[in-house]
């Protein structure tokens, strides 16, 4: 069984809460300023309002990225990313704080995620919807405290693909059953830092 080590290049933006406000904010500001620049509209109250809303959305969208600047890249290693049902595996996690931060709690979860995609409506009103449901199979938590600059959190623990659980199942984008190790750092006054690492559960039982 091979293990895997994760680093900063796996950091990724979450579309719904970070990219969407950023994009909408940029569109708001862009459209407002463009109208002023090309002279099709003067800097009316509506333009100022649109720009202000746009800037607010951009600021909201940037909050998670700014929050991440308080932390160094996570150093996560999982003993094996191809597991059998009933098998135990170990997780090591380390992360350094760049700035002093009050942390409410740090938790790790073994998650079984169902993702479904379906078509809603008929005729021209058809749209494709994707929904997910997370089942928390295991949860490990560290109590919160204040971390100083350069201070490091280190955690080592074990998870188990408990019975009677399901193996990874991904026949199409319409129906997916996947497993993740999820880490979440809840910081006071800042958005959570959350990251997920996918593992594969084979259709085999650990004997």
């Amino acid at each position: 069984m091979r293990g895997l080590r994760f680093s900063r290049n796996l950091l990724r933006l979450r579309w719904s809460w970070q990219v969407s406000p950023l994009l909408v904010g940029l569109i708001f500001v862009g459209v407002s300023l463009w109208q002023v620049v090309v002279g099709s509209a003067s800097a009316s109250m509506t333009t100022v309002l649109f720009t202000a809303v746009g800037l607010g959305l951009i600021a909201w969208g940037l909050r998670p990225a700014v929050a991440r600047m308080r932390l160094g890249p996570p150093d996560m290693s999982i003993s094996s990313t191809r597991l059998r049902v009933g098998e135990e595996f170990s997780v090591s996690y380390g992360q350094t704080w760049k700035r002093a931060t009050d942390v409410n709690r740090v938790f790790f979860q073994l998650v079984l995620r169902e993702t479904v995609r379906f078509t809603q409506g008929t005729g021209e009103g058809t749209r494709t919807v994707t929904e997910t449901h997370d089942k928390i199979v295991q949860h490990v938590e560290s109590p919160g405290r204040r971390f100083g600059p350069g201070e490091m959190i280190k955690k080592h623990f074990a998870f188990r693909i408990s019975e009677p659980e399901m193996h990874t199942f991904t026949p199409s984008d319409d129906n997916r059953i996947q497993w993740f190790v999820k880490v979440s750092v809840e910081m006071a006054k800042w958005p959570d830092f959350t990251q997920e690492y996918e593992i594969t559960v084979l259709p085999e039982m650990a004997r």
Partner: protein
């Protein structure tokens, strides 16, 4: 639709909680008695092992094994009896989740030209024995 009696009996595996459970990689043994109530010609009679998803997502599914049992003229009130074996693959396992259910079935299909197929389904469960 053709008037035909289909008697399908499954063997092997083990019966637990009203379901017949098969180990992934094992074999489903089946017994079929086909009794037409009228003379007709059929393209073929098939036994299939299939899985499909049910639930919120659009449907996925696959036929993982198929065996031909009969074809040609079937005579009224004259039974056709056939044994068959279907190999269960290693995955997917049967599953009942929040949005996704994975259902396994043994299906007998009587394919009749220019008429709707006559179908008989028998659900099964495909999961490995849990460690105690």
């Amino acid at each position: 639709m053709a008037d035909i009696d289909i008697e399908l009996t499954l063997k092997g595996g083990e019966v637990t909680g009203g379901w017949r459970r098969y180990e992934p990689g094992s074999t489903v043994h089946g017994w079929l008695r086909l009794t037409p109530r009228e003379d007709f010609n059929c393209n073929r009679v098939l036994a299939r092992l299939e899985w499909h998803t049910e639930g919120r997502g659009d449907r996925d599914g696959d036929c993982v094994a198929e065996v031909g049992l009969a074809e040609g003229d079937l005579t009224a009130n004259s039974s056709v009896i056939q044994d068959f074996n279907l190999t269960v693959p290693s995955e997917p396992w049967s599953y009942a989740g929040h949005y996704i259910n994975i259902i396994w079935e043994v299906i007998v299909v009587v394919d009749i030209p220019l008429s709707r197929d006559v179908i008989r389904k028998e659900p099964i469960v495909v999961v490995p024995r849990r460690a105690r």
